[in-house]
Amino acid sequence: MDNAKIARPNKVKDIAFRIAKATLKATFVYLLYFFAVPLLTPLFGLIPGIMETIQVFVTVYIMLMILGDLTERTIFHCFFNAARALFIVAYMVFSVGDGLISVPVDNFTLTVNLSILYTITALLGLLGLAKAIMEAVRFMSERAEGGLKP
């Protein structure tokens, strides 16, 4: 009975901490987006539809990040982190394709080779995936050591 009483405030405290952490991280990412978007204004005229694409990316990224933070210390945390990392890689593959972006501007064609940027982003996504896998391994090993089911 006493243990249950002690455990309940801890659980509430834990959930409140997770919510606070998720909110802070989401706010930070949103602020980063908020301040970076005005800098990208010259691109909006050149590449139509890029704003919508960036919005979709940021929305999905923040949602997966919030879900990952809310499910911390569960196996779902690792799943959401892995999903977020895979989403970055998949997003880059589908949006950039072969790494070349060609857009008609006035009477000329602008071709930008994003291969290097694309490779760096994909590598960062893979780094995130590696981190998610390591977290899953740690989680499973901690559970196995404690004799608990995942």
């Binding site: 970076a36 930008v112 994003l114 780094l127 995130g128």
Partner: protein, 264 residues
């Protein structure tokens, strides 16, 4: 295992912030980058080719240098056959600097006239493909390409020889006057001569020829009467009411001929 995971997380976050910062600043730099093309200048080279000099103004007020700027122009005729190509390479344009590049393209008029006589006698156009490749912000190779049509002014636009008029020169010769006219629509002055052969179709031989000196500034009309003298024993005024002229053009920039112009 906690420490490596945490370090990995911190490192990934730092790399993400650097990448986003770089991408945002590179995109923002585009608005401070200006390209402009000046009016092309036409000059002749020592080997009498036509040289286009196109000034390109680059104002790089962005945060990053532009590297390995390679400007290439390819001139082609209406059928797509290449007439001339030229490249200008600039290793680096530092940020915060204005740079003017003069891109020179040499066109051999002889090569152009070999492609077709319409470039000598009819105004036409040349297709020009301009490709500018550069490395923007070290990581973003960028290419600008466009197709431009340059008007081509014919140096002998509307060239014509009028109907010959025969006059009696003396007892043994006949004088032939042939009006000659054209307009120099080209971007260069014409200096040289035109040789006209008066051809006897029946005998298949040249009866006489005459040469006229030319010095025609660009965008001006030229009209002159060509005087030829034909021996009376070689031609009869009554029968020689038709035939043809062979016209040869010789200028400092090109040679062309014969242009066959029938009369009568």
């Amino acid at each position: 295992m906690n420490v490596p995971i945490r370090m990995l997380g911190i490192a990934t976050s730092i790399f993400w912030i650097i990448l986003i910062g770089f991408f945002a600043s590179a995109a923002y730099s585009i608005k401070d980058l200006n390209f402009d093309f000046g009016e092309p200048q036409f000059t002749t080279t020592p080997i009498n080719d036509l040289m286009f000099s196109i000034p390109v103004y680059i104002d790089n007020q962005g945060y990053y240098s532009l590297k390995a700027l390679n400007l290439t122009t390819v001139f082609s005729d209406a059928e797509g056959a290449e007439l001339s190509s030229s490249s200008t390479f600039v290793p680096v344009i530092p940020h915060g600097q204005n740079t003017t590049i003069v891109h020179n393209v040499t066109l051999s008029i002889n090569d152009i006239t070999e492609k077709g006589q319409q470039y000598l006698f009819n105004d036409s156009s040349l297709n020009c493909m301009v490709v500018a490749g550069l490395n923007f912000a070290e990581l973003l190779p960028t290419q600008l390409s466009m197709n431009v049509t340059y008007p081509w002014g014919a140096p002998f636009y509307g060239f014509s020889l009028g109907q010959p008029t025969f006059t009696s020169a003396d007892l043994s010769h006949v004088g032939v006057s042939v009006p000659l006219s054209f307009e120099n629509h080209a971007a260069f002055d014409l200096a040289g001569n035109i040789t006209v052969e008066f051809f006897d179709d029946d005998a298949g031989s040249v009866l006489t020829e005459s040469q006229i000196e030319l010095n025609v500034p660009k965008q001006t009309r030229y009209a002159e009467t060509l005087e030829l003298v034909i021996p009376l024993n070689a031609v009869s005024l009554s029968t020689k009411q038709s035939g043809h002229f062979n016209v040869y053009f010789s200028t400092s920039m090109f040679e062309y001929g014969p242009l066959v112009i029938p009369y009568g």
